[in-house]
């Protein structure tokens, strides 16, 4: 997976990727003013692959995911490429868009209660996406889906209402509902942030099983780098509306090349107690608060003059892609500091 601008999709022999984001830029109107929330995100995904988008508040990670599903507020300004299987999502007509969201895409949100209709039993919610089957088939599929997500006594559960289920259980139902229609891409926006850590482990295990069984691709959004590393193949770190580093999940924790990624890793509370944690000074900023240079320049410990003048382009370094002028020279330094921290 790489983060370079797409160069293949021009009708020749190259097979389109499952998902292709090219130079995505999103502006939202808040408080009467237009604000850039995502500034130039390029990302792509093959079938059955999982990428984790990791960032703090203001990084634009949720908005990026919603752009894929075209679930932004009305009137949002979007530019750049969003292609699913080669087809531009933002050019789809209403009927195609509806089919896209119902069949090809599955979405799991952080707060299940905000996205489910309290007035209907969960059986109704589960089968909403498969209305073209007969009622008997729908019920069987729903029972099977609940069983697959580890919910026993499915018959009884189908008749229950959302308020009768705990948060962990309801989130499992949400996952079952999202994958029941057989989508090819799952968008998971902080699906376990509100859950206990043991429930999170259980829910993520179930999700991993389902993904393997159905060859489902996934975009997993979280603030937890370790969690993303455990459940995805690649990690993209976002800051101030842009991706600053991309790399394989398995080695990110020890081979981070961007100062922000290294800072995030070092700021986590450690197994062995240290006198004080490393902190990145200041606070995470949003895209519209960043200046002309590197988005991280105002908080970076290694900032130089050129960092303030022009934004570094993403470039490959080993098996990572990083947006930093000093990535090569800082490689050793960052690794040493990470080991020591």
């Amino acid at each position: 997976m790489n983060t370079q601008a797409p160069s293949r999709l021009n009708g020749n022999a190259a097979e389109p990727r499952l998902l292709d984001l090219g130079g995505l830029r999103v502006e939202l109107k808040t408080g009467g003013r237009w604000r850039t929330v995502v500034q130039g995100v390029s990302l792509n995904l093959e079938a059955a692959q999982a990428v984790g988008i990791v960032g703090e508040s203001g990084s634009g990670k949720s908005v990026t995911a919603r752009s894929i599903a075209r679930l932004l507020p009305r009137g949002a300004r979007v530019s750049g490429d969003v292609r699913f299987d080669g087809e531009p999502v933002w050019a789809m007509n209403r009927a195609r868009l509806r089919r896209f969201r119902a069949r090809d895409l599955g979405i799991v949100y952080q707060d299940p209660r905000a996205h489910v209709n309290e007035m209907h039993p969960i059986g109704d919610f589960l089968t909403e996406g498969i209305r073209d089957h007969s009622p008997r088939e729908r019920r069987e599929l729903a029972v099977a889906a609940l069983g697959a997500t580890g919910i026993p006594d499915a018959d009884r559960r189908l008749r229950q209402y959302p308020h009768q289920l705990s948060g962990g259980l309801l989130q499992r139902v949400m996952i079952a509902a999202a994958i029941l229609p057989g989508p090819r891409l799952l968008l998971a926006d902080e699906p376990t942030t509100a859950l206990d850590v043991t429930t999170q482990s259980e829910v993520m295990a179930i999700l991993a099983e389902q993904r393997h069984a159905r060859q489902l691709a996934m975009i997993f959004i979280t603030h937890d780098l370790d969690l993303a590393a455990a459940v995805t193949d690649t990690i993209a770190v976002m800051y101030a509306g842009t991706i600053v580093e991309t790399g394989p999940s398995a080695t990110m924790h020890e081979a981070a090349l961007h100062p922000y990624t290294a800072g995030l890793l070092a700021a986590r509370p450690r197994p062995a107690r240290v006198a004080s944690l490393y902190t990145i000074p200041g606070r995470p900023i949003a895209a519209y608060e960043s200046g002309p240079g590197c988005v991280f320049a105002s908080r970076c410990a290694y900032v130089q003059q050129r960092c303030l003048q022009a934004r570094p382009e993403p470039r490959p370094l080993g098996d990572h892609v990083v947006s930093c002028y000093r990535a090569e020279e800082l490689q050793g330094t960052l690794q040493q500091a990470l080991e020591r921290a």
């Binding site: 009467g32 070092a266 000074p281 606070r283 105002s298 970076c300 900032v303 921290a341």
Partner: protein, 288 residues
């Protein structure tokens, strides 16, 4: 070189202070009209060209002219002056109703929310009973019992409006009540009074002002209506509702100026206060 080396100068990453009052031009315009009306009412004696009750038999039912900008009525009185002086009585009644109903409505809402339990249920039942009295009818009954004028209708309308205000304030107060910052007042050892008044009321004060503004507009219409049917302010006082009624014979004879001027005054005032009240209500609720 560790990650902590060479920390950059502390960045000014303080979020820009958002302007609290984004200019809502419609609300500002409505507010200016309201203020202008109140100013006119207060300074009427200085502005009006004539006394409101100066009868001039020679100038009955005249149209607008240099001497009488809005014409004269069936007794030769200057319509403009009567309209300006009329603002005083026309706005005094609603002001009283607003003050009384807002004060009692807010007090009952806050007390019920704060104390809770049986007291809250009792207050709610009491408000339910008050809801059953349609304002205007109640005012008419009060006039029948206590005589026409301003006092009886004002008290009756205050009673009738109280539950409406109480209901809105209570809904907002209940919402605020469950937020942790009120509990921290308890933790910090503040008295109930301080917490309820200084913290809870302050956070719903915009809504209180909004409801009061709306009450002003509605009560003005009710009181003008009462004066129109002869149960409110009595002649020869200048009052808009009364003027609309007194001008009806002239209206039928083709001289609409008195009724028109008074009617326009009522409409402008009610619309201005209602628009302002609705905008303030919307603003207070968007803050949640």
């Amino acid at each position: 070189m560790a990650l902590t080396a060479r920390l950059p100068r502390a960045p000014a990453l303080l979020r820009a202070e958002e302007p609290l009052v984004k200019a809502d031009m419609v609300a500002v315009a409505a507010g200016c009209i309201c203020i202008a009306l109140l100013t006119v009412a207060i300074f009427a004696p200085l502005i009006a060209p004539y006394q409101p009750d100066t009868i001039n038999a020679a100038a009955i039912n005249q149209g607008p002219s240099a001497a009488h900008l809005l014409g004269t009525d069936s007794l030769g009185r200057d319509v403009l002056s009567r309209a300006l002086y009329g603002a005083r009585l026309s706005l005094l009644g609603p002001a009283l109703v607003t003050i009384l109903s807002t004060t009692f409505g807010t007090a009952i809402a806050i007390a019920g929310t704060w104390v809770g339990g049986a007291f809250d249920r009792l207050a709610a039942r009491f408000m339910d009973i008050l809801f059953a009295f349609p304002g205007l009818l109640f005012a008419v009954l009060a006039v029948v019992a206590f005589g026409a004028g301003l006092i009886a209708p004002v008290i009756a309308l205050s009673v009738a409006y109280t539950p409406y205000i109480a209901r809105v304030i209570r809904a907002a107060a209940v919402h605020e009540r469950q937020l942790p910052y009120l509990e921290t007042c308890q933790l910090l050892g503040y008295s109930s009074w301080r917490t309820a008044v200084y913290h809870l009321v302050r956070n719903v004060r915009l809504l209180i002002v909004a409801q009061a503004t709306l009450a002003f507009g509605y009560s003005l219409l009710d009181l003008a209506g009462l004066s129109f049917i002869g149960l409110g302010v009595q002649p020869p006082s200048a009052e808009w509702g009364l003027m609309v009624s007194e001008g009806d014979s002239a209206l039928l004879n083709g001289y609409p100026y008195e009724s028109l001027a008074a009617g326009a005054a009522i409409v402008i005032t009610v619309v201005a206060f209602n628009v302002l009240g609705e905008r303030l209500t919307a603003r207070s609720q968007s803050r949640q």
